[in-house]
Amino acid sequence: MSFLDYAPAPESTSILHLKKSYGLFIDGSFVKGHGKSFSTISPATEETIAEISSANAKDVDAAVGAARRAYDRTWSKLSGADRGKYLFRIARLVQERARELAVAESLDNGKPIKESRDVDVPLVAAWFFYYAGWADKLDYAGLGANPRALGVAAQVIPWNFPLLMLAWKIAPALAAGNTVVIKPAETTPLSALLFAEILQQAELPDGVVNIITGAGETGSLLVNHPDVNKVAFTGSTAVGRAIAKSTAGTGKKLTLELGGKAANIVFDDAPIDQAIEGIVNGIFFNQGHVCCAGSRLLVQENVHDEVVDRLKDRLSTLRLGDPLDKNTDIGAINSKAQLERIRELSNIGEAEGAERWTAPCELPAKGFWFAPTIFTNVSTSNRIARDEVFGPVLSVLTFRTPAEAIAKANNTPYGLSAGIWSDKGSRVLAVADKLRAGVIWANTFNQFDPASPFGGYKESGYGREGGRHGLAAYLTSSAVASAATTRGASK
């Protein structure tokens, strides 16, 4: 026996008490949807987890109507301190039910339990705690005295961090005094529906948060609903562009958090062992299903071979398999469609002449899997260096001088994040200053904190989530508000 073949250490699913089917969460209770229901499956086993309702136009109307009533009658009349109490309560309930939420997330999404347990769920609680604190301090949000809520927020979130993206959307919206209709992604609705139970447990007033499930069509109905004041979307650039078009001129406030093709820049004086870890974390965290993933590795040419050799050694130690096993590093690809896209782009990479290397690991027979892969000899013109793969695929490019590194890093239609690895502080600051990316990490990668604003340049979207800046997406300064409408939550 090899010690490294660690004995299975699966997290038990007995903590989960799932229903066979779930309705839509509208006005404080679960109701049947009128669209065609669908199954949500575990991407690791392809087994059905539960039957999920789909919201049609009538259901979307009901959800928006419930949110409007809750806004007019309840939520806009509460003081900031009282709104904060509900948010604190939600945060504590998330912590209490952390293990259950983590298991549900890994089951439905395919991400390793160590990530849902140690990253996703703790950050969800942190987001609610953070914005709970803001609820009675909106005068200090940088928008002048008495900033006003917008009204009903329509929120559409992706499948890569289902519960965390929900928290990123709901926490600031509620703290600022808005009510919410949110639609989780069709492949990952489970944790949002458990979250609805938490809202019931927290006795949040009915209609303040409505959770509707369904596919892209439901999302489109939601963001285009005429009684919505605010649209927040996280997902692909193509869908983001369509939303920007359809909401233009409607007066709806819009924030978009879209794709990325982040450069992770490694200088020759980098702390090498930690840089390798950072590269791995940058692109293989959450199977690379991360919009800010460091998918383009820019390595200084004189250390290229050493970095690639060490990277291959390290990737060979990653453990791919059952997402619920506590020792799994790489889980399942979220869906068959995504797996096919990753395969297609990887094949194009090979066809375009890049050199493909795949970590030696056995893929389970059932489910959707893709082994950690790196491409070397990649040119800036190759599609794998330009298109967002959204999977565990890293493209390695080289540079010779800091100026070239900056130019290559910025040479993308995206601009969400970037990483810099160097032991020299002055160089880190000088390079960071010239990168056109919303988030720049120095000697680390993929670190998130509710106090830190997150968002992109160019095709990566607009608006910021997190921190004080994240509140601005859900507030309007009272000077504007009083001119337009007096409707709005008081602080």
Partner: protein, 342 residues
Amino acid sequence: MTIDRAVALAPAQRATDLIGGDLTEKSLRLHLEGLPGVDAVGLEARAAALGTRSIKTTSKAWALDKIIELIDLTTLEGADTPGKISSLVAKAMTPDASDPSTPRVAAVCVYGDMVPYAVAALGSSHSAGRDDGINVAAVATAFPSGRASLPVKIADTKDAVAAGADEIDMVIDRGAFLSGSYGLVFDQIVAVKEACRREDGTYAHLKVILETGELNTYDNVRRASWLAILAGGDFIKTSTGKVSPAATLPVTLLMLQVVADWYRLTGGASGGQRIGVKPAGGIRTSKDAIKYLVTVAETVGEEWLQPHLFRFGASSLLNDVLLQRQKLTTGHYSGPDYVTMD
């Protein structure tokens, strides 16, 4: 700044191979200061991540036995007596009298003047060069401070080797290291290594204690690790156990990374040199020790989990492992009264 006269250092084989024949204080310094830096946050995060591995059932049973096989059972007290040494040796040979399947520890680690008693108590179980016995390790070179002249350190070492010590745990001169006199530290290690030579031309194994708690920064630990390897150390060891903090997981991970670099540099799978690592002090529970096993296996590889490449310097760890081992066999926890004190 003026140009220093080149001060030639002892021509240790590894250092001349790597740095070149003109080994001087300056060339050594340039090499050590040219090593890539260590990012403390990243290193500690990696160590913490390795610490979250979940080692259960069969893997745990294997790990517990492995930990025992890798222990240097240690007593380093001013109050040590021949009687205390012989009971330590008895415990080393039969860690758990209630379960004869329990493996033996790798070595006993004692002060130099206690070596004859340890050798006598071990009798035929003393390895004395064989693979199947228990080694006697002696701390030397004015342990734990290292504050003595070189002739005293050499005499201390020779004395222990002559008395039958199989391994010498020397301390480096941290004062010299921190003041930048890398050459002095280097020459002393080379000299002590030479003092480990027995009459028949074989050598006692040399473990070089860096006392990482006094070196304070990870950059210093990396430099000292390289220095000790270049000077001929067979093992690099974290601590004396007399200074806090003693062994920590990040420090041990860093030293393992240096060892991995050295292995890669000297040929890797085709004949690379394997240097041993010994975390010592502060590792008291099976749970902690298992984190170290995971760290070794996932950084330098499983082949390092052998007594000639990895050791735990510990005294109370053994009993916790025995309690865990009994729990795995019987299904319930016993208590401290079900394992022997020493």
